[in-house]
Symmetry: D2
Amino acid sequence: MIIVLKPGTTKEQADEILGKIADLGCKPLYMPGEERVVLGALGDERVLGSLHLENDPRVESITEILSPYKLVSREFHPHDTVVNIGKRSVGGETFAVMAGPCSVESHEQMSEAARVVKQGGGTVLRGGAFKPRTSPYAFQGLGVEGLEILQSVSAEYDIPTITEVVEVADIEAVQDRADALQVGTRNMQNYRLLAALGRCSKPVLLKRGMAAELKELLLAAEYIVSEGNPHVMLCERGIKTFGSEMRNTLDLAAVPYLKQRTHLPVIVDPSHGTGVRELVAPMAWAAAAAGADGIMVEVHPNPASALSDGKQSLFPEQFNELMVGLRRFAEAAGRRL
Amino acid sequence: MIIVLKPGTTKEQADEILGKIADLGCKPLYMPGEERVVLGALGDERVLGSLHLENDPRVESITEILSPYKLVSREFHPHDTVVNIGKRSVGGETFAVMAGPCSVESHEQMSEAARVVKQGGGTVLRGGAFKPRTSPYAFQGLGVEGLEILQSVSAEYDIPTITEVVEVADIEAVQDRADALQVGTRNMQNYRLLAALGRCSKPVLLKRGMAAELKELLLAAEYIVSEGNPHVMLCERGIKTFGSEMRNTLDLAAVPYLKQRTHLPVIVDPSHGTGVRELVAPMAWAAAAAGADGIMVEVHPNPASALSDGKQSLFPEQFNELMVGLRRFAEAAGRRL
Amino acid sequence: MIIVLKPGTTKEQADEILGKIADLGCKPLYMPGEERVVLGALGDERVLGSLHLENDPRVESITEILSPYKLVSREFHPHDTVVNIGKRSVGGETFAVMAGPCSVESHEQMSEAARVVKQGGGTVLRGGAFKPRTSPYAFQGLGVEGLEILQSVSAEYDIPTITEVVEVADIEAVQDRADALQVGTRNMQNYRLLAALGRCSKPVLLKRGMAAELKELLLAAEYIVSEGNPHVMLCERGIKTFGSEMRNTLDLAAVPYLKQRTHLPVIVDPSHGTGVRELVAPMAWAAAAAGADGIMVEVHPNPASALSDGKQSLFPEQFNELMVGLRRFAEAAGRRL
Amino acid sequence: MIIVLKPGTTKEQADEILGKIADLGCKPLYMPGEERVVLGALGDERVLGSLHLENDPRVESITEILSPYKLVSREFHPHDTVVNIGKRSVGGETFAVMAGPCSVESHEQMSEAARVVKQGGGTVLRGGAFKPRTSPYAFQGLGVEGLEILQSVSAEYDIPTITEVVEVADIEAVQDRADALQVGTRNMQNYRLLAALGRCSKPVLLKRGMAAELKELLLAAEYIVSEGNPHVMLCERGIKTFGSEMRNTLDLAAVPYLKQRTHLPVIVDPSHGTGVRELVAPMAWAAAAAGADGIMVEVHPNPASALSDGKQSLFPEQFNELMVGLRRFAEAAGRRL
């Protein structure tokens, strides 16, 4: 930690701060300059954080040297983590394709969706039973009934499932019926939910908050892992920017940035990332080229009748075209579907 | 709702969509142009939303005409709502000052904070017992013990209290011990929490999500009000922008924008809105001039030792200076403290 | 300057960098830690910048300690600068009101506008003759004819004028006919234009780029001042954010932030800052409360017929109401109109 | 154009607006609803824009139906435009690689850079002679001397060149010595410069402004094309977002979005788009997968000594690795290098 002091701070005041650093067992450094005095504190940033030097009125600015996350970092664990969803693996040499409708609407719809996803080469079936919606007047999902539809279709088509969980109270119902749990963008910083997921045994896909820095995403993952669940996948799904022409701005550079810093698999969601079905396939291909471990896309047997996110849902034939191209790009990236 | 069709859409296809609109009891309109066909649908946007026309592959774009929120809108309820926190009112002619430390740390700290706030002219004491923190390794709040400290200090100084609630399971404990409940920025779209707060009897201060449009804030408030709790206050607390020099960008124009559209009181939090204690007082004054119904600010007996947000916490004497200026600006705005 | 080295960097490599720092006459510091080696370099950041240490593949990150701007900084020049536009002053105890239409459209329109502005208490007349427009098919301004209208109306009503300049080639024509020159948001980083304005004798109002950090605004001002023209005013006019409900997000906290760091006057433009005429007056009042030295607002004799920016232009009676309120808030801020 | 009127607008007021629309030769439509009256105006948006209905105080909102750009749109010109830079073509089946250092620093540096670019398979040599820099104290480029170095190296290695132009006065000098002209992000809305480039004969690469909507980029291109120069390439180079971990956020979805709307070639600059050399190659590959017509990357013989942008400049061996991967991804995209 580097601490820049305000002009006019005395040597005695600096010594007092240096003393606090030494008392913690960290290494203090004193660097007087002509215009500013700079202090250094070498040691675990988590320990140094307990000093709250940023609060000190004599401190102008603080710069951390080391990353504040540990368990999810590649420095801590250099090898890629492979996460298993049912019998399918995410990470490593395979490129995962999680696909399905935004919401579970009926058994018929999910069954047809599962058929399309499986035939096209998808590896995991997605579908939401609990839907966080901007308006209280919008469709909120089928709840446990939706989970049961998902479970039954999963058995029918022998395809593992992933579905969103929005509240601690629902975790048990979800983990009993699905193969992986998903945390939505609005809940990335719902720390109670994260901690509870850290105590469950199923893998968790953690979506990036729509205004979250990548450091914040990694710290959110650290909440889950530090509670005991190492089976975490990160998901870039677009961020909020000034751009109003697409639903979100898909931050694809987050993929190599994260892969260099964490051992966890990184998934890309080009459906929410763009919000426009015509842009989903090219961005799925770009995700593979950028080094992602998989994609999550919305496919609906009949998008025009979808109860949520239909505008960004692929038609079955669009999903097939996406998969045809994806094979080429995944192969160019040294992966197989 | 205005529906622009893609080039090449036939009259028959347009008629099919117009038929769906009429079937809902809404008024369909057909407007053929040289380059595009445009359809209109006049009626309740919530009803029209159930058609999901945005999903239709023949539809190029949709524009809503009416706002999707109802109960919180000024069209629905033209007069200003006044919310009572204990014996103090928020909205109307008074200008509310909610102040106190970020976190409840000890009885001594809260007692001293309450003294400072009350002497300076503050009307409500704030202090967090449940703290959502970016890092799992940071101080997470004292929990129920913190609530009890808050309650005891409230009685001691005869000042009502407001504190954050982060999970449905905690609502009962919080509403039994505090006079108002606060929803933090990370939970603005935690719809389960909002709905549950809609079923409680204490007033709720709803902070704007750090990347939320104002329409989304109003819809979040609609979740609470539509469940039965009309005692809702909105709070502008800064948004995420490209700006890296302050913690957030305080969007003060949100104040008159909201006041023109909703009858709910609007509060401004310049502490989180800037993240820098030297900027808090001028932005509190600007909030009063912009027409806000009150402010929420962080004050700590000793910011240098604060366990969270110390950098943006005012020293007691800074709070007093803020209040001196605030009297002048609130008066110029036709309010009294 | 603080330099964090990548893991694995050797002592010899660090010494090589430290040698370069010493060779420049700056003070090098060596701080080895367990996980990272950190170097310090104390001295003028402009000199240190010439080492381009950020390029070095052994360097993980660089943090500057001192601000890169000098002449515009309050450390360099502690007292407030007062700028004169014709016979009116900007900065100090007065609160400046620059008002008028977006574009000069005709002598009749400008004459009527000048009457409204002067009667209402405005101090400087604005009006654009050269208009940068997003579409090549939109009205581009009257050019020199517009400047001449401005000049003639200025004489008629004895009110000084400010108008935009968009190209080096136009500076002479503009400075011969107007009392102050304005650099628009799209040209804040048109460095050739800034340098040329640094060589002219009239004062310059520099608008913040719509995606510019405040440090970048101060460096843009430094371009003008370092070429010899100290008569510079800064203008906050709203930034681009995810918010789509207003034209821009007015970053009012920029006012106290800038006032603490620079001696130059700071003006606020709530017309562009919000883009909605109903929001202009409250934000003008908030600007005064936040400590601004003045405002720039758009007023048009008949906004409904304006050739540009009519939606945000005040009607004459709205301008009068703004001024009535402004007197109260400017007084509360210790200023006079 | 769809015009929503404010509540309380009378039939007579609506008729007055409808009359104006009809007077322009456009088709007026009247759609009265229960809560709002909506008007339609069918015809050329450029013509309708001259009514400035957005200014009218009775108008609540305006929605355009048709795009405001024409000449650059795919509706106007369905086939892909191929632009020639010297003997190399951009667009169509080839994938263009424009590479070289940020700044021209010396003949030796450019000669070595040209060798690296040509050997690696690059098609166009880039290098800046006029550099827009945030600080007046930073290296501003070699000017005409730099252009002459570029010209001489171009002849030596038989590779065409592209270089930035920052002012109208420099266009002649640049177009006499380089094969293509580049407009930087800070000048995307320097309309005088764009119009002047519309009157020159060399191709122009137009970089997206760092806070520009894609519609604004297309309108900026329309400035050039409407003045007579159809040889325009668009370049996505990253936008400003809340993200502080990379220099910019590369908006790769802009590629398919633009390709669907315009016939002009679309280039991606992953060097500025990320600002970090380790992220350049994966994002270049992703650009190819997303459907781009080429990339522009910074390569320097010795990045550690670069006078600008060294941190994002590739080492020669990194450029070679980028090219090896790029061949695979371009082929998967149906292109050849």
